[in-house]
């Protein structure tokens, strides 16, 4: 397509503007993390006076960052693995079978996206406490309740996206497998799943990111030993608000795994969104 001079100018200015808006905070995170404490206590400096990695060392003893980190890692990993597994099964049923209640289930799952979290936070807390009193299975104040909660919170969007993805895989493939004598579970495992890998990866990233960042349920369902990063960080700022270099070092530590994972998988994410959400 022919590109006029005006278009090129607008494009340059537009992209540059978006780039400055996006990158400035990212630069601030990284540059502040390697500043000495003196650089962050008075006026803002663009360039660190010296580069030091002291903040990365100190941050582990200032707050129990390692514990928050491990808690978040356990919660996000378990909930996303279970969420993906359950979503795959449910989405396979919706995509490949007609059964009574299918539309009802689909609509009910989607409509849960509308629930304000605050509506079922209090009842959920009370239900977990009661389950604990009745069965001795403790679900509040530790990680298990949080895992169950997150895996459910991410299920609806995951099912929705995977149904779209499975629908885009030709049925002839499974039919051929069934004719060859494979069971439906075998067909799902060795024919549908490999073909749907991008969608499954996308859903897994979504579930992991959501659990990694969630603060509302974590603030009520955890105690000081089971606190996750999302809750730990909020108090972090009130406690040591002047140690900005340490806060930014901690931000780098907790962001790098997730951002790296996201960027490595972004191709899958775009494919997954295109098949699942857009079409």
């Amino acid at each position: 397509m022919h590109e006029s001079r005006t278009f090129r100018t607008i494009r340059f200015i537009g992209l540059a503007g978006l780039m400055v808006f996006t990158v400035t905070p990212l630069y601030v995170i990284v540059s502040t993390a390697v500043k000495p404490l003196g650089d962050v206590q008075n006026v803002f400096h663009w360039i660190p006076s010296t580069i030091t990695f002291q903040a990365f060392v100190d941050v582990w003893s200032t707050v129990p960052l390692a514990r928050y980190f491990v808690n978040s890692l356990i919660v996000a990993t378990c909930s996303s693995v279970f969420s993906v597994a359950l979503a795959v099964l449910a989405a396979y049923a919706i995509s490949r079978y007609t059964f009574r209640g299918r539309e009802l289930f689909r609509m009910a799952v989607l409509s849960t996206q509308m629930f304000p979290g605050i509506l079922f936070l209090l009842p959920l807390y009370l239900i977990y406490v009661n389950i604990g009193q009745l069965t001795g299975l403790k679900l509040n104040g530790n990680l298990s309740g949080l895992i169950i909660t997150y895996l459910t919170l991410t299920l609806p969007f995951s099912i929705w996206m995977l149904v779209g993805y499975f629908n885009s895989i030709p049925r002839d493939l499974d039919e051929a497998g069934l004719v060859d004598g494979a069971s439906p579970t075998r067909v799902l495992w060795s024919i549908v799943l490999p073909a749907a890998r991008p969608g499954i990866v996308a859903v897994g990233i979504y579930a992991f990111m959501t659990s990694w960042s969630e603060a509302l349920f974590a603030s009520v369902l955890t105690d000081s030993a089971s606190k996750t990063l999302a809750v730990g960080f909020a108090e972090f700022t009130t406690q040591i608000a002047v140690y900005w270099n340490q806060i930014m070092a901690a931000s780098v530590v907790v962001s790098v795994p997730i951002v790296a994972g996201f960027l490595l998988m972004q191709r899958y994410l775009v494919q997954g969104l295109t098949a699942g959400a857009v079409k």
Binding site: V43, R102, F105, F115, P116, G117, T274
Partner: protein, 322 residues
């Protein structure tokens, strides 16, 4: 096909004829087995708590009954009367909080969408460094919410923040603004919301643009349509189904947003940034009046249901008429 446990052969018999194996459930039962686990968790975490929440809203559940909440006395509509009473502080505060939340959603959704469509259209052309730009644009969305919020909190800091430093340096401001207090808190929160969410709009719209065949544009160009005419006459109508979902999702996310104000203000939210989920959270846990808190949440749910149904009805009708 029921086999008594004791008589089950050690090695499952595989029928030579027919495609089904011995342990494989029938076609009628299988879909229910597949959705079963998901359904179970949905019931436990979404459906039952929601129904419990609705029933709690009719109870006088305050700190006296918290330990034995099943015995809390029935209160009828009393909680709703308090929440809706615009003569009282509680009712007025709730209404104001809903208004602030709607304003926050409106600003964040519209600006995020504008940035998203602008960026997606510009990246659609073959500009150099396209994939690198896209990668950078997506980072704010990939960043955990709390780190995104905290870096802005530092940048907006009165004494050692970048924003005041730049404003004073360029002469655009006096460099003495408290960005996280008073009415400024709303602007700051909206700015952070946009920074975090516009990449999602970009991602979705880029996926949407990719599904428009290039021949359509080539045909339009032959007809002499300029870039702007192609955008309004072709791109926007073709993106309508994508936009319908995208705007709704962005609206629901921002309206129910808790993570951003929770991390930004850590418990002491200024009145101008009192988003409704934080408002209900604080009024429930400060006064321990869960009956009233539930009544407020149910009101929100009904409000969102009405808004969403209206939105879907209107946008779908317009799509049919188009």
């Amino acid at each position: 096909m029921v086999t008594p446990v004791g008589t089950r052969p050690a090695v499952p018999a595989v029928p030579r004829t027919g495609r089904r194996r011995g342990w494989s459930p029938s076609r009628r039962v299988l879909p229910y087995l597949l959705i079963g686990p998901a359904l179970l968790f949905e019931l436990l975490v979404h459906v039952i708590p929601m129904l419990t929440g609705v029933s709690i809203s009719f109870l006088q559940l305050n700190q006296f009954y918290l330990r034995r909440w099943l015995q809390a006395p029935f209160a009828g509509l009393a909680n709703y009367r308090i929440a809706f009473d615009l003569q009282s502080e509680i009712g007025l505060d709730l209404l104001r909080s809903v208004g602030i939340t709607l304003a926050y959603s409106a600003v964040v959704v519209s600006v995020s969408w504008l940035f998203g469509i602008f960026g997606a259209t510009l990246l659609q052309s073959s500009v150099r460094g396209r994939s690198l730009l896209r990668t950078f644009f997506l980072i704010p969305y990939a960043l955990p919410v709390f780190t995104a919020v905290i870096v802005w909190k530092f940048m907006l800091d009165h004494d050692s923040g970048l924003v005041n430093h730049v404003l004073a340096g360029t002469g655009l401001g006096d460099g003495n603004t408290f960005w996280l207090l008073g009415d400024n808190a709303f602007i700051s929160m909206a700015l952070i919301g946009i920074w975090r969410l516009w990449p999602f709009a970009l991602l979705t719209l880029m996926a949407g643009l990719q599904s428009i065949p290039t021949e359509v544009y080539e045909a339009a160009e032959v007809d002499g349509a300029n870039r702007w005419q192609q955008f309004t006459g072709l791109t926007l109508p073709m993106l309508r189904p994508v936009n319908q979902v995208l705007v709704l999702v962005l609206f629901l996310w921002t309206f129910n947003d808790f993570n951003v104000p929770f991390t930004l203000f850590a418990g002491s939210t200024p009145a101008s940034a009192d988003l409704v989920s934080v408002h209900v959270y604080q009024s429930s846990f400060i006064t321990w009046n869960f009956g009233l808190g539930s009544a407020m949440s149910v009101t929100l749910l009904v409000f969102l249901l009405v808004v969403t149904s209206l939105y879907i009805a209107v946008t779908s009708r317009r799509a049919r008429n188009a």
